[in-house]
Symmetry: C2
Subunit: 306 residues, 2 copies
């Protein structure tokens, strides 16, 4: 059994426009790098390779809390040392906390000879999300662990469905503004119109069918959100312009990544994904907002050893 | 070109538990029989072979209104005579009006050398639903025309997605009580909790994935409705007992067909479908309610010439 491994912990896009709280997609870039070592004493030590300050109590850390849960189900006298190279900016809406939580448990499981199932790992990793945002949601950690596109059909009981999809190029822009997940959640209404909910479940059903049937046009038509986006997009300057210009340029569709502020567009063609990137850069340059862009693909593997 | 044809117009199940207003499934039984003749004058004549009284104005008839719409797009001086053998009871929740509307336009289109697309036919047939219930819904006419299982992703613009599925045996019971579609719609709340809507779109996404991935267990887990069923099932005596006993006997799941009062259960095994039938018969016998049951399968063809 190796005593130390190194993993890539990818960014993820939660919600996927019409799949609020249930759909997620794993990206090839950006990703964190994490080094995890097996210790022969029951402690958890976590540090940042970049000098980023972390909570000293592992229970308060997004990588630590999942490891504590995992250790509750292990009889041996072991612990873990984790060094995180953070490349996914916290607060970007790209699943930074999920990458830490998922990376820690996938790496630890490899060090332990793969004794836990993906579903176990997901269950542990959700404790990291609870530390990060107060909610034990799974729409980022699931695609980060399983890879590809995942549906969380239900949280209680946990039911994860892996969805195949045709090749997709993803353009992402992270405008360097702050949108807190808790704020993005608070501005949502607790009740929605039944007629809007019907539109939304027509769209998510269409999106899932589009993925599984490799039907790009159907994916594009289904990427519509009549409930969350009209409220949350107000928090993100440039949203309408980015979306309409990218779709005009040939993007299938897209929207807010997680609770934002990052935006993403899905594309059938790599060349259009690059055009989308230029559009995003121009919009945020004009707005005078710092940004970072990525042209990437769906990552079918999730967290992997490197 | 034939001057007269005879078609089978099958029953359909709308909603499919978690797909309110968007999902529908075509059944092999029961079905109406319809004879449609091409006339050389621009009239529509509709009669019932069983002496069932029909509105004399074709515009007020579920088969007539769609034919009127079709004739608006035809330049020739032609008309249709329609004789309906009604076997799907109006008010059963099994798409009786949709069978008449879909049967009429599919038959007429065959008499005209198939000049209209399925999407055109659906557009026409929806006028029959408007006559029947006041709402131009498509969740029965779409599976009746396309066959199999259909998703109406959107009504404006019309977007129909055909969904493949593994072999399914369907048990249906029609308790002979009256539930008016308009009543069944009125008792629904116009607003729903966002957290319930999220459960519902998790389930419809799971159901669509289950169909397309031939995953019976996922189909079963996804057949859950937290929004419509808790309200509508109150109108149907025996509902809870039928559902829980059938599931105990091995049914994947099921619920109210359309707006009821018919109930249905989906099954992987034919033998369990027959057990479900016995359960349904016992429940309604005990309640002293007349009933009719069917053990049937998904009809992949929709309206067909016979």
């Amino acid at each position: 059994m190796p005593k130390k491994i190194r993993v890539h912990c990818p960014a993820t896009i939660a919600n996927l426009v019409c799949g609020f709280d249930v759909l997620g997609l794993c990206l090839e870039a950006p990703y964190d790098i994490m080094e995890v070592s097996l210790l022969d004493e029951p402690v958890i030590r976590i540090s940042s390779a970049d000098g980023y300050p972390l909570p000293s109590d592992p229970a308060q850390n997004t990588a630590g809390a999942p490891l504590i849960e995992m250790m509750k189900e292990i009889e041996e006298n072991i612990g873990f040392e984790v060094v995180i190279h953070k490349h996914i900016k916290p607060g970007s809406g790209l699943g930074s906390s999920a990458a830490s939580a998922a990376g820690a448990v996938v790496a630890a499981n490899k060090l332990l000879g793969e004794r836990f199932s993906n579903e176990d790992l997901l269950r542990f990793a959700m404790f990291g999300e609870k530390v990060a945002s107060g909610v034990k949601h799974a729409d980022n950690v699931a695609p980060c662990i399983y890879g590809g596109i995942t549906l969380i059909r239900s949280i209680h009981p946990l039911d994860v469905v892996a969805l195949s999809a045709p090749e997709l190029y993803v353009t992402v822009v992270h405008p360097q503004i702050e949108v807190k997940t808790s704020d993005a959640r608070q501005i949502l209404r607790k009740e929605v119109l039944l007629k809007d909910a019907i539109k939304q479940w027509g769209n998510i059903a269409g999106l899932v069918a589009g993925f599984l049937k490799n039907d790009y046009a159907l994916i594009g038509r289904s990427l519509e959100d009549v409930i969350i986006e009209p409220v949350r997009s107000i928090l993100i300057p440039g949203f309408d312009e980015v979306k309409s210009l990218c779709k005009e340029a040939g993007a299938l569709g897209g929207g807010i990544s997680g609770s934002g502020p990052s935006l993403f567009m899905l594309n059938q063609e790599e060349s259009i994904a690059h055009k989308n990137e230029e559009i995003m850069q121009e919009v945020f340059k004009k707005l005078g907002i710092e940004y970072k862009t990525y042209v990437t693909k769906v990552n079918k593997n999730g967290v992997v050893e490197v």
